[in-house]
Amino acid sequence: MLDIQIRKTLLGSAGSMELDVALSIKEHAFVALAGKSGSGKTTLLRILAGLESAEGSVKVDDVVWQEGKKVLPSQKRGIGFVFQDYALFTNMSVEKNLLYVCKDETLAEELLHMTELTALKDRLPSSLSGGQQQRVSLCRAMMKRPKLLLMDEPLSALDPEMRSKLQHDILNLHKTFGTTTVMVSHDPSEIYRLADYMVVLDAGKIVKKGTPKEVMLKTQGSQKFSLRGELLDIIKADVIYIAVVSIGQQIVEVVMDSEEARAFSVGESVLISTKAFSPTISKLVV
């Protein structure tokens, strides 16, 4: 059980902002932290890691990490932390990166095997791809068998294929080691696949929380499904208009009448929904 009650004044691009978060996280939970950039997600994560100071308290089970003037240093929290930019020790080989944290060769071997890195164990980080480096970083974070694993947008610098592979690795490690995991993420599909609870921050406050299904799958009225997208273009075709919308990694076209075409402008966030038809689902033949 992780109990967080913290406050901190942040200086953002839009003036000062009060980060004020009260949250308790169950043991073994996988929590996704979402919200616009500058909403305080990373700061919250860094406060949990002991890398930044804040007022309030952080408790893990019966251990006080922070309360009043007492602050347990990062070194003694025994957490795993995965950075967006990997932050590997560039002077050490893959295996040495793991052993630096803890001289447990059996565990290092097991982790490298789980993430298919065994063949690369003597390579220097600079000779690896982004996806490989992030897998090393994940393994390194697990070397302390952490109770709490913190990840700051771990996959946002990777391509979609590599993301889905790493999502699998993350979930696998989370389950095998029984960690409580908090991950900052922007990607709805990633959150849906990995997290069992999500918290949305806006300007330093929690604005929504619940399961990813409750928070993200919101359809109104009789609508069967709705998808968020960005309006890329409006093309005139004879008497009608065609809206080109990007949804996730896909581009779709939707018919509009002239009145709708005038009401929308390119670049806007839009919601595509339907109610009359029942969508079909079929397997992709690759």
């Binding site: 070194q75 003694k76 795993g80 932390f81 950075f83 803890c102 000779s127 302390k144």
Partner: protein, 229 residues
């Protein structure tokens, strides 16, 4: 060809002085530059300004203060003379002390720059692995700034070899004790022995150039090898 006979003692003395000074400064400068690179203390600009003073001060000014501070008439000089029987000026010990002050910024600044260029997340990853600041500095930070370390060592060494004003103020020109190459050249010119002055100067020029070239060649190769972007 009697006038071309070469006395190597001033060169050896210059290199001995530079070697000892570089070694002492390396040990002193690592913790200071690490602290400067990591601290958010408000006193940082003050410490930086003091440590950079030898770059802008005329060597004679620095030499004068050191001479004043270490002479037998000062408390420090008197203490060393009475307690250990050591004189701190007009001998080799005095030269080492003066050179440590004089070359201090040339060791600290490259190291500080190197430490500041490191990825902060990498250092934080080390802290979260349970490692102390010292262990992080020693096992993660230092090995990742090898070009900066080499630059600091060589520039400090070369700068100490090239010092003149401070040496003359604090050490004078005692053959085999304080008469380093730069002072020897000055004396040749003063006595109008231009042939010897030319020879000594050319040797200094070639050596300085070779050392700097070696540093830049190493740094170019190292940068390519570790793939710094």
């Amino acid at each position: 060809m009697e006038f071309m006979s070469l006395d190597f003692a001033p060169f050896l003395l210059s290199f001995k002085l530079a070697g000892i000074t570089t070694f002492i400064l390396f040990i002193i400068a690592i913790p200071i530059s690490w602290w400067l690179s990591q601290t958010k203390c408000r006193c940082k600009p003050f410490v930086e300004a003091v440590s950079s003073l030898p770059i802008v001060l005329p060597p004679s000014v620095l030499g004068f203060y050191i001479l004043f501070a270490l002479s037998q008439n000062s408390p420090v000089g008197a203490f060393f003379e009475e307690t250990f029987g050591i004189k701190l000026v007009f001998n080799f010990t005095g030269l080492v002390i003066a050179s440590v002050f004089y070359s201090f910024p040339f060791m600290v600044q490259p190291l500080q720059g190197g430490f500041e260029s490191l990825n902060k997340n990498m250092l934080e990853a080390s802290y979260m692995a349970g490692k102390s600041r010292f262990e992080t500095m020693y096992r993660v930070a230092l090995p990742n700034i090898k070009p900066a370390v080499l630059t600091a060592l060589i520039v400090t060494f070369a700068h100490t070899v090239g010092e003149f004003g401070v040496v003359l103020m604090v050490g004078g020109s005692i053959p085999g004790e304080t008469k380093v190459a730069s002072v020897a050249i000055y004396e040749f010119v003063e006595s109008m022995d231009y042939a010897q002055a030319h020879l000594y100067s050319a040797i200094m020029l070639v050596m300085s150039f070779s050392v700097l070239l070696a540093v830049y060649l190493f740094n170019a190769r190292h940068t390519r090898r570790i793939g710094v972007r």
